[in-house]
Assembly symmetry: C2
Homo-oligomer: 136 residues x 2
Amino acid sequence: MEALLKKHNLRKTSGRLSVLQCFLECGKALSHGEVQELVGQKMDRVTLYRILQSFEENGLLHKVPDDQVSVKYALCDHVHDLDHAHSDNHAHFKCNSCGDTVCLEESSIPEINIPRGFQVNQSFLLLEGLCNECVD
Amino acid sequence: MEALLKKHNLRKTSGRLSVLQCFLECGKALSHGEVQELVGQKMDRVTLYRILQSFEENGLLHKVPDDQVSVKYALCDHVHDLDHAHSDNHAHFKCNSCGDTVCLEESSIPEINIPRGFQVNQSFLLLEGLCNECVD
DNA sequence: TAACAAAACGCAACAATGTTACAAAAACGA
DNA sequence: TCGTTTTTGTAACATTGTTGCGTTTTGTTA
Ligand SMILES: [Mn+2]
Ligand SMILES: [Mn+2]
Ligand SMILES: [Zn+2]
Ligand SMILES: [Zn+2]
């Protein structure tokens, strides 16, 4: 786990270790507030924001739109690659019952027709509904 | 314009008329803050939130994800239909330079493979990049 | 047109999310 | 161990969004 930080050019701190552990253990996308609950209130709110930000900038996490309200983060597809340039170009699914958001890593976002002259740099596809555990 | 409100079962108020006018005139997705600037500070912030909410509930506007930070609203595809059950199932494009968000009404969101047992109720596809006016 | 009930509004208060500035503490390479 | 750079904690602030409540407005009916 410390190796993961080093590999992504992030200094090893106790805060970063606990945040990383949260994501490795729970395997789903987490909002700032959810991580805060997991690591406890002893970690400063702002520090946590900065840790999430540094993880994203260094290719450890990627942003996931949450309900058009706030952001969640999820582990990047190839966390163990040195290459940060991978795309995480996959869809996400959010269950409206249990609230969990998961990566659909096998479902890459298809090409979309865009007007002439437009240039797409990034795309976000969020599906909402019920997960297998919450369906009926 | 008053007819539009009536058609969607919304009482005619001065606030609703000015908000509706904003959307009819500017033809792009607007955030709460952007509408507030257009209608002026004399309209209460909370009232504006409630007007946007009522417009969405009655099929006049639909939500558009904005940068995973906040929400924008755009006129529904078939504002003049009595049927509110239309889907607005199209992609959106946000320009990272000018900040404008537009509906790509000709680009419906394609079907995505989802895990067995999952049920999709709604989907949001946001493309980000540069619009034709901001490219180079 | 007057009266009434339902809906919308204004205001206050609150919660959640996110950002910035600055000084203290910790990490890391030399 | 020393010195530099990064990270952290704290405070202060901004934006976004929600709830409760009393007042005003709207649409309907007598
Ligand atoms: Mn993902
Ligand atoms: Mn749209
Ligand atoms: Zn679920
Ligand atoms: Zn533009």
